[in-house]
Amino acid sequence: MIIELGHFALILALTVALLQMVLPAWGARVGDARLMAVAPPAALAQLSLLTFAFLSLTHAFLTSDFSVEAVWANSHTAKPLIYKFSGVWGNHEGSMLLWVLILALFGAAVALFGGNLPDTLRANVLAVQAAIAVCFLVFIVFASSPFARIPPQVEGRGLNPILQDPALAFHPPFLYGGYVGLSMAFSFAIAALLEGRTDAAWARWVRPWTLAAWMLLTLGIAMGSWWAYYELGWGGWWFWDPVENASFMPWLAATALLHSALVMEKREALKVWTILLAILAFSLSLIGTFLVRSGILTSVHAFAVDPRRGVFILAILTLQIGGALALYAWRAPQLKQGGLFAPISREGSLVLNNILLTVACATVFIGTLYPLALEAITGAKISVGPPYFNLTFAPLMVPLLLAMPLGPLLAWKRGDLVGATERLAAAAALALLAGSITLALKWRGPWLAPFAIALGAWVIAGPLCEWAARVKLFAADRAEVRRRALGLPRSAYGGMLAHAGVGLTVIGIVATSAWRAEHVVVLRQGEGTEIAGYGLSFRGVAPRQGPNYQEVVGLFVVTRNGQPHGELTPSKRSFDTPQQTTTEAAIQVGWRGDLYVVLGDEQPGGAWVVRLYFNPLVRLIWLGAVLMALGGLLSLSDRRLRIGVPRRARRPLAQAAE
């Protein structure tokens, strides 16, 4: 019964979305305030209805109602509660419902906090949000209903064990929060095109939403990568897999958008480009959804065999992206460009950032879709794997990282490159030092790695120098430094933190790629081995019973310099439904890096294959990502940027001139 109510609420939400799409937009066009006023309550109604639909599906999962197809196909009574819960979105139908729920959440936020937006802008934004919702709700209701009933079954088919994991349970909501969050920038861009004007207030609205979406996306991607690292059993953290690329492309576009929106907010420049970027960022989110959901990645043929859903999503894609770009081509030339600037200026550096990020994004796009397009057109099958991406993507990142500390030190309009470089002398020295130390420690190579480490150190030290310069650390007395440090806006701190986070991630990536140690051995009980200065002795295996699996646990005693250094217990789990085995790596976290041990297959005679890895500084990859997200959060908490604060209090002229 609850499921039917949920289904009904879903259909009702579609009806409401249709009204919300048509009436406010029409009202904005003819100037009818009553029609425009429909939008906010409609957005709230949509949120309530979709929340109800989502909760009713959650109820079915939690109570293991196997008369619902989605529950039967993806759940099991013996599954731990948290995975019954995460099972709601751990499948196609449920995840699409989560997608529209988050979309409604963002729409409702505009309705609630958008009181200070011009009426027509708010009406148009909510209408565009509703248009997106209509497409996806039609898809869910007609092609992918999570509420489909089947004859009741006794037991469900279970969730893929490798997805039964805390990090992966909350990876999709974050990722979708990011994907769908970009719809806000998209809706604002379309609304701006419809109205034919944009201003700084527009950018001030778009930037926090993009920032929030970007943060969620950053965390979502980091979580996925972290999961891959410990769950897939050999310590890889990024594979340039199409599914990963699908989330990475919107991230790159959103990063570019954040920076160009900054220019637009502060200087009224780059309007036309920012709007295009907003459209592209969300389009890439849609393409990501399509890639993952249509099955086209498995093979072009699999897609052709069962194209119903794929074609549906493709139609949505064409309609939304094509429509948006057509509108852009038509209306964008009418937007006034403002804010002249010299090439060497804050604006100029942000343009460079945008060029490099967009080209990098395009490279990932081409690498991901080229094999599909080639096969569809010529039938030739090629593979585009990690070697291609490493070769094309990395060179684009080098100038970006080099320029990163410089940009924030350049003045708006016309900057002083020499002055900025001088202020970064300390950072350059630090980077040089880091590179030299690395070279001295790791003189066996690879020879490029010390340079990359130096680059990472440069990116970390840059913000420190920027901070020192801005608070006059060595030029003023302590009281003045204190006053200035407290006076710096939070968004400035946020930017510095995020930039430093990028540097940490770079160092983590370089160190673990260049100096990872690997050792594969066959061990009997009582035997030992060594890796990266650690001694491990194998004390045998023992069986253990989990909630919905049995496992074999190996025991390793670790020593370092002859001293005991803890124990590691890697295991192999066998799940009953579905019948699968997974390996659980045992990881010892240290300052230098992770000691990572995996139990392989049993050999005849009671010996075991054991894989040992030492991943130097690998934690920095995710620590950097967390810093980036924290930087975003800090910036978001800035008084001047806080959502819905375009009404700026009048300040004394002296302060404004500062």
Binding site: G224, G233, F239, S383, V384, V520
Partner: protein, 178 residues
């Protein structure tokens, strides 16, 4: 084996729905795989560490054909194991790295190479990033020259304007002097 990471909420329902399940099903049906774990087995390894290191590097360039986007270095599908053994056999026979790749490609087709070759098929793939970068730089530089020209066009003030400006600025200077 690491099977195709469908990390976006994806999960395999029936094969027609999720990539992951599709990959798994394929793998399970073919009886290829028991455990998700990395690939190289101790018994495959070559005694010569230099040769073994070359084998590992080459393994990362070759695709496991029955897996989804995995190199034979990551996969423990039976086919990947066969390919790893072929690579090592060719290396022991004294082949160069390029010769080993050519040998495998001749048998399994271009699809097996994770680093696409540069040919008529892939010209666009390899050149687009570079062309795009050059095109954007060209476009932006041209625009910025327009911008510079616009700034230059704005620059000169008429004598009357200059005088007015001086008058506006003057009182402040005297104040500061005082």
């Amino acid at each position: 084996m690491r099977h195709a990471p469908t990390r976006l909420a994806a999960t395999p329902g029936p094969a027609r729905r999720g990539l992951r399940r599709a990959a798994w099903l394929l793998v399970v049906l073919l009886g290829l795989v028991a455990t998700p774990a990395a690939a190289v087995e101790p018994d495959e390894m070559l005694a010569d560490p230099a040769l073994e290191a070359r084998a590992r590097t080459l393994s990362q360039e070759l695709r496991c054909l029955v897996c989804q986007n995995q190199s034979i270095d990551d996969s423990n599908a039976a086919l990947a194991k066969d390919l790893r053994l072929i690579v090592r056999e060719r290396l022991r026979a004294g082949d160069s790295d390029a010769a080993v790749l050519a040998f495998v490609e001749a048998r399994y087709g271009e699809f097996v190479l994770l680093r696409p070759k540069l040919n008529a098929h892939t010209l666009l793939l390899w050149l687009t990033p570079l062309l795009l970068l050059l095109a954007t730089l060209f476009f932006v530089l041209r625009r910025s020259r327009h911008g510079a020209a616009a700034i230059a066009a704005l620059a000169p003030l008429s004598p009357a304007e200059q005088q007015r400006l001086d008058e506006l600025v003057k009182p402040k200077r005297t104040q500061r002097g005082a």
